[in-house]
């Protein structure tokens, strides 16, 4: 029995590594899912057949419940994928926190098989803190992304916020150290529960000052935490398989966090403790109040029709409006007329890493037309029309020179360098980060106000029956 367990763990580990390896190319990526499913099934069965598992009804019931909730969660619209991802980090954190709590009380009750060394107790404390803070933090993030009514969308800040946050975490860690040193003391049980409660509170406090534009980074960081909590669980349970899988998840979250931070020119600490999107200190100098010029749909269609090459810059606005299928129709109409259409993807466009790519792939836009920021920027001065579609901060030229703006230093897509800019925007208000965008008042920029989907539908109509021939 023991040998079966060990061998299946090795097999599952190898399959998980292959699963991630195959993700290096969209052509092989689906093999990765199969490898992952096989690895998971092997590991679950090998655990289940161990003789110590006697309450099979409980296992079956919980697994069935997981299917009942999991299947609908996998069918959400792709625009809701960021929320689903945050929710899954929450579930991962919850599982780690609960198993950690159970292990501690089992050990106190004298039923645990393994010895509670200082090392294992430290891992247990880490598991519970990481697990529970990931749980509430990710729930908050999911709530913000889903725009749940009673969760504030805008960052919530108050004086001394960082002091409070760090204080709560410090108390939790301090109690953790105390419990590690005296795990069997009479007060340790209460201290343990207090650690769990503080971690739950810390997760909420950590996320409330964070705004929507920072979500790609925050989701990545929470991903890393969820992975680390699984690693800690592996240390507690003596499971090399868990440690490996958790480390793979954690390193993925770490790499994505680094990429996201770099794409915003900010540090981890700045994202977590910087409270983005507060009221902006006088951005435009007085007397320099420029106004935007509005374009009609007919005029915009003319511009696009006369262009040789068009670069579409999608952002969160496209996702909100579910406009990706209309984008595809416009892409078809323009391509048919011999216009070269490319899509410029900023790493932090949308609400999670890769968000735009998935939405455009859903609409069947070939992924060869999706171009990274660094590759497209040299082409922008030769671009006839840049069509900004619900993107805002990632095309704001102020990021290059205006030290007063929170996005200063962030690499942007050089939409402003195109010969003509067409910007589709839902409202005349600033974007999620609450920053004015001077791209919109440039001499060569024309605005199209309205819901991205509706505006695109009108544009496509121009190419179809009536307007342009």
């Amino acid at each position: 029995m023991h040998l079966i367990g060990e061998l299946s763990a090795v097999l599952a580990t190898a399959l998980f590594i292959f699963a991630l390896y195959w993700m290096n190319d969209p052509k092989t990526a689906r093999h990765g899912v199969i490898a992952g499913v096989v690895g998971m099934t092997v590991a679950v069965l090998a655990t289940w057949i161990q003789p110590e598992i006697i309450h099979h009804g409980w296992v079956v019931g919980a697994i069935a419940a997981g299917f009942i909730v999991g299947v609908p969660l996998s069918r959400v619209p792709l625009t809701a994928v960021p929320q689903r991802t945050a929710l899954s980090h929450a579930f991962g954190g919850l599982a780690a926190g609960l198993v950690g709590t159970a292990e501690y009380f089992l050990w106190r009750g004298g039923a645990a098989t393994a010895q509670m060394t200082h090392f294992r107790m430290s891992a247990l404390a880490a598991e519970v803190i990481l697990g529970f803070l990931t749980f509430t933090g990710s729930l908050m993030a999911a709530g913000k992304l889903q725009e749940v009514r009673w969760i504030p969308q805008r960052p919530v800040t108050y004086p001394g916020q960082n002091f409070v946050n760090i204080g709560v975490l410090a108390i939790a860690i301090g109690l953790g150290v105390a419990v590690v040193l005296q795990p069997g003391a009479p007060w340790a049980q209460q201290a343990f529960l207090a650690i769990a409660a503080l971690a739950l509170i810390f997760g909420v406090l950590l996320i409330i000052p964070i705004g929507g534009a920072d979500m790609p980074t925050v989701i990545s960081i929470l991903n890393a935490y969820a992975g680390l909590s699984a690693v800690a669980m592996g240390f507690v349970l003596d499971s090399k398989l868990l440690v490996t899988a958790g480390a793979l998840d954690g390193s993925s979250g770490l790499i994505l966090s680094i990429i996201m931070c770099r794409a915003m020119n900010r540090s981890f600490t700045n994202v977590l403790f910087g409270a983005f999107g507060r009221a902006q200190p006088a951005a435009l100098a007085a007397g320099e109040q420029k106004v935007w010029k509005q374009e009609t749909v007919e005029g915009a269609a003319q511009l696009l029709d006369q262009a040789r090459n068009v670069v579409v810059i999608p952002g969160y606005g496209m996702a909100v409006a579910q406009a990706q299928h209309k984008v595809r129709e416009l892409y078809d109409a323009l391509t048919k007329r011999g216009v070269t259409v490319k899509f410029a993807i900023h790493p932090v466009a949308g609400r999670m890493p890769g968000h735009m790519n998935v939405l455009l792939a859903e609409a069947n836009i070939p992924y060869s037309a999706l171009v990274e920021m660094d590759e497209i920027n040299p082409e922008m001065p030769r671009t006839d029309v840049a069509l900004v579609l619900g993107a805002n901060d990632v095309v704001n030229p102020a990021a290059r020179y205006n030290k007063g703006t929170p996005i200063y230093g962030m690499p942007i897509i050089d939409a402003d360098k195109a010969k003509t800019v067409l910007a589709v925007k839902r409202s005349k208000n600033p974007g999620f980060a609450g920053i004015d965008n001077e791209l919109y008042v440039q001499d060569n920029t024309w605005m199209l106000f309205g819901d991205a989907k509706a505006v695109l539908a009108d544009l496509v109509k121009q190419f179809g029956g009536g307007g342009i021939h």
Partner: protein
């Protein structure tokens, strides 16, 4: 589960992290969203811990904790793999 030397667990952790960094670095930028749902499903391997807590001969409260954890992990496994496949299908058909 036999108690293993803590040092060897640390060893596994460090090596796995390096493998993870090496492999993830090569993942196509197009696929970051499915990557996140895939790694999330994989790290739900924590399910093996939950099965032991929920299914072994433990007091009732402990088993309830285990069953909730098992449910949470299982949700991640099912929805994680399924949505990853759904997204990857869209990339593959081109």
């Amino acid at each position: 589960m036999t108690p293993t030397d803590f040092g060897s667990m640390l060893f596994v952790f460090v090596l796995a992290t390096f493998i993870g960094l090496g492999v993830i670095r090569r993942v196509s930028r197009l696929l970051y969203t499915p990557l996140m749902s895939l790694t999330n499903a994989i790290s739900a391997i924590a399910v093996v811990g939950s099965i032991v807590v929920a299914g072994a001969d433990h007091p009732l409260t402990i088993r309830i904790l285990g069953a909730v954890a098992l449910f949470a992990s299982m949700t991640n496994i099912v929805s994680g793999f399924m949505i990853t496949d759904r997204m990857l299908k869209m990339f593959k058909k081109q």
